[in-house]
Symmetry: C2
Subunit: 129 residues, 2 copies
DNA sequence: CTGGACCTTCCAGCGCAGGGGAAGGTCAAG
DNA sequence: CTTGACCTTCCCCTGCGCTGGAAGGTCCAG
């Protein structure tokens, strides 16, 4: 299976597949006599796994860690659990920060809708902020 | 007032101030005979305004828009309100996405804590994902 | 007169996940 | 035999908000 086929099957691009190989997420594929990459079917499963990892908001570096553990012959369960826990914690923190910011902005907006523009003094940049 | 002083007063770095000038957020300062930037006190107010804008999660490009309107002699009220509304909408969307993602990951994690590692088959990369 | 703190410009890079495009090789159909 | 689709490597670009460093000029105290 050539790279274009794999890209179509996986719903991605040839650029991305070469990039994954470059980043160590895909093992270097066999080559045809002409130097074309020749993928075995399990490459598709691997790319799908990468995409599932991305859906779970893991970075490529984290996905690579899982694949490395797995490629080393171990079952990466514990590692995956840890990563998911960590990611969940990060996510919660990020959500909290965004909620705080949302509050701040909502207050600014409320203030902005109450003030009459012509009461703005000239020596301020903006009294809403 | 020289750039280092302004940086200290505004709680930022000289690098950042030059960067702001480069990006059009700060007008080019007057220069001393030696070529040093020589800021008037209102530069501090302007930098503070930039920081307040950042606190409101506005991008530098958006803050620049406000400053440009204001520098053009108009009162940027409506513009600011629009930006705040837009930012609020973006933020809400972003928060929603993160919440969905959080749910997905939480489910994966729950699933991961129920499955026994030794039931993992060898031909999958990882059954948690 | 020397040292150190300050200033100038310019160039380069970060992290993330690729995308754009050049210059060239290869393969199958018509 | 040529066309067009595909493949190869290579290097640079994106957005965002800076940060680091090099090479040089300036100012003031001791």
């Amino acid at each position: 299976m050539r790279i274009g086929e794999l890209a179509r099957a996986a719903g991605t691009t040839t650029k991305t597949l070469r990039f994954y190989e470059d980043q160590g997420l895909l093992p270097p594929a066999e080559r045809t006599a002409a130097g074309y990459r020749d993928y075995t079917p399990d490459a598709l499963a691997r790319v799908d796994f990468i995409h599932r990892g991305q859906t779970a908001a893991l970075t490529l570096a984290q996905i690579r860690q899982i694949l490395d553990v797995r490629d080393g012959g171990q079952v990466p369960c514990e590692h995956v659990r840890d990563l998911l826990e960590t990611r969940l914690a990060n996510l919660d923190e990020q959500i909290q920060q965004l909620l705080v910011m949302r509050e701040t902005i909502a207050q600014l907006r409320d203030r902005a809708s109450q003030i009459e523009p012509d009461t703005c003094s000239a020596d301020q940049v903006c009294r809403y902020l």
